[in-house]
Subunit: 300 residues, 2 copies
Amino acid sequence: MSIEKVAIIGLGLLGGSIGLAVKARAPGITTSGFDADPAVRAKATERGLTDNVHESAADAVRDADLVILCVPVGAMREAAAEIADVLPPRAIVSDVGSSKQSVAEDLAAALPGAIVIPAHPVAGTEQSGPEAGFATLFVNRWCILTPPAGADEAAVETLAEFWRKLGARIEIMDPQHHDLVLAVTSHIPHLIAYTIVGTASDLEEVTQGEVIKYSAGGFRDFTRIAASDPTMWRDVFLHNKVAVLEMLGRFTEDLTALQRAIRSGDGDTLHELFSRTRAIRRGIIQEGQDDPSPDFGRGH
Amino acid sequence: MSIEKVAIIGLGLLGGSIGLAVKARAPGITTSGFDADPAVRAKATERGLTDNVHESAADAVRDADLVILCVPVGAMREAAAEIADVLPPRAIVSDVGSSKQSVAEDLAAALPGAIVIPAHPVAGTEQSGPEAGFATLFVNRWCILTPPAGADEAAVETLAEFWRKLGARIEIMDPQHHDLVLAVTSHIPHLIAYTIVGTASDLEEVTQGEVIKYSAGGFRDFTRIAASDPTMWRDVFLHNKVAVLEMLGRFTEDLTALQRAIRSGDGDTLHELFSRTRAIRRGIIQEGQDDPSPDFGRGH
């Protein structure tokens, strides 16, 4: 199996970056694109995110070997239904969604008999829309494939090879385990960031102007994540509910323990934790998953 | 009043950056330094963090017009006591600590009759120690002065002018209000970051290797803050207990409300908050308090 044409449904940060990455790193592959929003289609045409931008999802997937749905996870089922009648029978259908159990169910229901291999490239920025994508987004990032039981091995390898061409590293995972791992490395961090930014906005004793002025004390880091796409993130929390609530419970227990340590003046407990957490940062930098410069290399 | 010689007690990230900033931006001012750790003194001499590095705090403050204590807030009282007998009577004593009520009390107790003007430059990185400082750390950052009631206005203005020379912007604030503002813009963000990194490290179902590999989903941002100096941060939480516990209570209430929204599938509540939090990010970028590039300008 080889991929000669990939159809990208949804031309925001992820879809646009896939199109640009194919152009830059896999020029033998043709791309076609569609987005439900006409303004996004116009911008995608202007930036050349895909070789062709079509007026319907059905037109975009014609003759495609690989279809990648790049829409919020709450819109997967509808997006799949739109292409069900015209999907080439041997095409692989995949996605980039951040919850994998829900996507597997939705795509299987909407596309009975199709070759469905859900995927999740763990990459992004806080920006969204057709102007946000860039060709190197996936370089050295992990792309997790969650093939269903009994999936065609050749199709899985074909999809893996596609992502490798875009610069990604591949991991195969059970969808349930994926959802648990991502709850802790992505979903809970976003939920916490949205919460503290909301808390800070609503205070009466501290003005928004003060929050903004003194944000360099650490708060500003959280505002980046809390500027992420609201629809995408609403859908993630609604579609990975079980794992998110489970991990949120663990986080809250640990926060309560620290609260008690602060109240009782237990400096040893605080110091022990604060020393231990440095090791994870070192591991992330050693694995090439973050910028080693102080402060992410922000200009000073 | 004018400052001809500044003594810096504690030559880590903050103390070292003050020394380098004076050298770069206020070359008319002489600097002397001291650190309780001989290895830090040796490194400070090697990097030239101050014009002279002394073997005792008492030696460093001789003839100083301004003494800045750059030690963890839990060490302020002892550091002040060490210079009490030799402090020039007209010298201004200040600091860089992140809690201001506790520092005001500790310095007043240790230095009766001295001119004490506590201060807090809201600037830093996750790195610490004598190799971490750099001359531009304070440029365009806010430095909050919290003069006690009845403080000498000329002394306050002299200190403000010193910080302006280093590139900082000045705000005068009541120490109690400072502690509330910084609890939300700095202390709670650090506490949350330490907590989630600790939670992720302790899971049985998800390995540390997985947490590291998939950290680009958002988690890695928190690991930067959670790599900050453990002693400094232990002291902040123990010395700003009241405001931290108050703000932690607000955060926990808001998180519980979001938890309920997720459990009940209330997408509107999630979407409304996630849309609202973007405005704060825009304000921070407009005010020049963060890098406007996607992902803080990390290399992609």
